[in-house]
Symmetry: D2
Subunit: 344 residues, 4 copies
């Protein structure tokens, strides 16, 4: 019963097979191979436009490299206070951007809203050399709190960003889960809503370690290639990252498996919310459940081998916990977890 | 006939199998898994001592992270002028060290010698705040020019480094080829000769993308963990890098396959050196051949589909080229290459 | 009527004289001169202990260099959300620390309190590699909002910092104003209360550009010298910064002139608070007055040539403004300002 | 008898007077004052074109900030192996540029020539992501070895730089000495010969600490303002740097005093070259003399209180020393030095 994170689970068999198929023969290194070209073509088709694509092996690298490309060292990046870039990357964005500043904002369910962004912007004077200069807004899709931005929620943020000369970045480590939830096109969920660049994640949904940084306007990728190399993120045997992404993007499996994870999360949430003393903290729109659960219940669950994170210190005998489902979480684990929580 | 680089070749079947075996089930992320522990144990055994081990996915990352851990921002790193860190990493060491300086030195066959290092050191005044301060020596094993340091050549460099308060770093992207050539123990080739930290490469010899940064005194690893995370090089599904290294280090295959590449290089060299107008540029001690070849011959070879790098601009109708063999280079390719070069 | 900032005013005649006296003859460069040694001796005496002293020419440099010495790139610096390092240094601390993170906290009157710090610390897991690690607390004395920390307010913050393995930094750009207000010894206001390092400012109180970075435990200065040089802040003709500090620290003038600025601020505050519609926003404990003033009044004042900063956007016909007095602000300007504000 | 460096000497009385005159009253901070505007106007007139001007307080800051503005983090800066930026700035350019690489070149008398630059460039492949990319050439005027580039020597370097898409930077810490030697116009010695940006030094020729970074095409200054602030080099009381530069640039004093230093250097050189066993190492074209002098002679000179630098370790009983004259070096010191050297 491992609900710690979706990255606790392994990889799709199809991806392993693709790795094997890619293992033979000599090809051009550093992304000059046919598989890398094919992944690029797949993503252009998926997003219904010419895009620039750069495979990397971690979400932190994807986010930090993208932000460093979009933002000068004297820039400010507005993001949610609980976002991965703000909390869980050990300052990678600050390192890669050479000292830009992340400005943490509040927002229900891990989502930014234009009003909060606008209020924050009022503290930054454009051209005032003492202040870092507003340069990007970064949102997470699905969010760190298991919610999902609707295209109609992204568009006004992006419009506000644009009006202030800022770029719009999306951390899409769980983009598949968001899209499976939204049931709109990838284009609608991103550039049509005003997103300039994104980290398109595959790792959490079943790759070994494969993310694609995508610039919807290829010209904005500027010197990304050099930044990636300088950061040690340009792989000599790039074919093996591309093979993962190629298998990942083949057909609709990526959405179906993300959808499965989402369904299990809903099932888990429904099971939990009926239990006295348990309370859902956020709408369950993707593959994470945030619930306030009595500490005795949590102890019992852990006693039965359940793994999950406390999201906050205990308070009045209850603790906010995070439960994440994945493409490979056994459905029986969900059922068993609910039963134990129920005291059965 | 691809002799461009050993990284043009794919991966061992055993490594693909190991990836597949690691793909099932839920395990701890970020290196808390059993495979990562096993790799660490294997490397402790291999090197006959307690070592600190950090898997990463590229040689550039391995080198730059290790150097950044060993060297302060105001440090100087002495290295060969043709070394990978100096020439082929787009300034990654400067980025990761926050601005330390690489001091390029000359040396036959890509090797440093104590005299050159000593002369260079005489230009740096210890404690003189205007000068970057000597902080590390970095050598490559096998070297970028296809030669191999004997332990007896490393030891005096390391002693000189130590005498000046410097650390000794080894870029071991092709450590397997060096060791297969030396026929000494890994310990003799590294820490017993005075090496403090190394990049232990597996990628070029048949992994997908797997290198281990090793500190022979674990205390010297200091804040490596944070640097790796901050650089986006801590993988969530670390098991998949560790699975590669585990299969790589299983038995003596890694040395045998490197030995095979070395043998093919020698065979290639022997075939070429008998050809009129062709001249070997460096001793062939690992898996690379450097030869000066008439341009007409090179054109003929390329016309037959041979791939390799020019190492310098043409001069007097001949060009210095690099030919690299790998664990998977077909022996027939070597034979055919020589034949074509011979005008047969 | 310039109340924009204390740095709008010039320099003491005694400091100009000292510059002139230092201008003749040949002396050792880069701080090897007698004046620099004398300044160090003066500060050791002033602080009643052996301290390490590094003169620089700007407060931003002093703060950023000190923080970079105290904090690793993966460190977190807790500071007030309105502090100079957080808001007014264009990300200098992030640049000099190579990407450490400033964590902005709330606090009345620009002051941190232990409860807020403790709550913030609860979100950082020690040794958890994904989180930047708590490394320093930085307070400003006097604060950006014109208040002053009492030693008894600093000590519990410093104790909490120490308990979490953090260093305590003080931005003392207006330390003179704070001390003139506190009427305790410099030692009591700093290291006796737990401060590890400070920026000791002289510029705002009448130097041309002179601040001293002080480490109360000289061992903690570590590689400061190299950082200062690498940042272009080691002056060849250091004597001219030291001459300023020497004249500044001669006798008690520095406290008297800061005291004068404080007195004028109180006088200004008292004049304003009696005016209907005007409200002081913070206790006036140093040389800055924060007041909410009707916009019509502000327009009238500006019409008469008064200069000052709006501290927030207008709200309901009134605006929060900042008024700063200095060692050289004409007392008549204060009186005239109050009269005009009064509608006289 | 201090010949250590021109920065061992103090400041002009006219500059001290200007500081005093600037000390009164309230003016706009951070360069918004009239003196800073006047300095800009003076430099536009001096260089016969619209230029962007940024006063800073050290040569290292001027060079590093200018280079960081001209060069991306993945750029290469070609410079002489004995240049100040390569040897004497503790890696400041690497820090400010976020990890660009300085490529040290050889050249007689501290000067670069097109052939050497061209040969170096042949090792860098344009657009090859593994190599840092040629981005700037930096020359020093007058050079670190006391020679002076003629405009006709700069122009072909600049043309070659331009042809490779590089910018041309001049470290003009001793620009006054160069110009006094050249007897051409400032424009001829800089932008008319192809220089894009320069550090215009005043410190070594008699300011307290004042250099102006100049961009001959103001558009190339791009985000310099933010870089300067972020590095702690934007002074609140900028008027005091500008006052120095204003007095420095008033009339032709700056050239006359540099000319005097040059004349003393020639006098010193002429006195020394007649002494048996003494040999000039480089043409004496500015205010520095490099001479190989018997160690016994050097010991005698030091015994009489002479101060100067050894430029290399002793060799065969003689040592290469550097002797620098300044605007304020007593002529009698030169005469006395020669006499003692002569054994009189």
């Amino acid at each position: 019963m491992n609900f710690s994170s979706d990255n606790s689970y392994g990889a799709w068999p199809e991806i392993v097979t693709a790795i094997g198929a890619a293992a033979a023969g000599a090809v051009a290194s550093y992304g000059g191979d046919a598989l890398t070209a094919k992944v690029r073509a797949r993503l252009c088709e998926l997003f219904e436009r010419e895009v620039a694509v750069f495979p990397v092996i971690s979400g932190t690298a994807a986010n930090a490299l993208a932000l460093a490309t979009l933002v000068p060292p004297h820039g400010a990046v507005f993001c949610h206070g609980e976002s991965h870039i703000a909390v869980d990357e050990c300052g990678a964005p600050e390192f890669f951007t050479h000292g830009a500043k992340l400005v943490p904002l509040e927002g229900d369910g891990g989502k930014l809203v234009p009003e909060t962004l606008e209020r924050a912007l009022s503290h930054f004077h454009k051209g005032f050399v003492h202040h870092v200069q507003p340069a990007a807004v970064s949102i997470t899709q699905s969010t760190e709190l298991g919610t999902v931005y609707k295209p109609g929620e992204i568009a006004p943020l992006a419009a506000l960003a644009r009006a202030h000369g800022m770029k719009m970045h999306m951390d899409g480590a769980r983009f598949a889960n968001a899209l499976a939830s939204l049931k709109c096109t990838p284009a609608q969920a991103t550039w049509r809503a005003g997103v300039d660049a994104m980290s398109f994640g595959a790792t959490k949904n079943g790759a070994l370690g494969a993310e694609a940084v995508i610039f919807f306007d290829p010209a904005q990728a500027r010197d990304f290639e050099y930044r990636r190399k300088k950061a040690g993120h340009l792989l000599s045997k790039m074919r093996f990252v591309s093979a993962q992404l190629d298998a990942y993007l083949d057909g609709t499996r990526w959405l179906e498996r993300a959808g499965r994870a989402n369904r299990l999360a809903r099932k888990l949430a429904q099971g939990l919310e009926d239990i006295p003393g348990v309370q859902l903290a956020h709408p369950v729109e993707a593959n994470a459940v945030f619930a306030v659960v009595p500490d005795a219940t949590l102890a019992r669950l852990r006693g039965h081998g359940a793994a999950f994170y406390d999201w906050a210190p205990p308070e009045n005998g209850r603790t906010l916990v995070r439960l994440v489902t994945s493409f490979a979480t056994p459905e029986a684990d969900v059922e068993r977890f609910v039963k134990i929580a129920n005291g059965e």
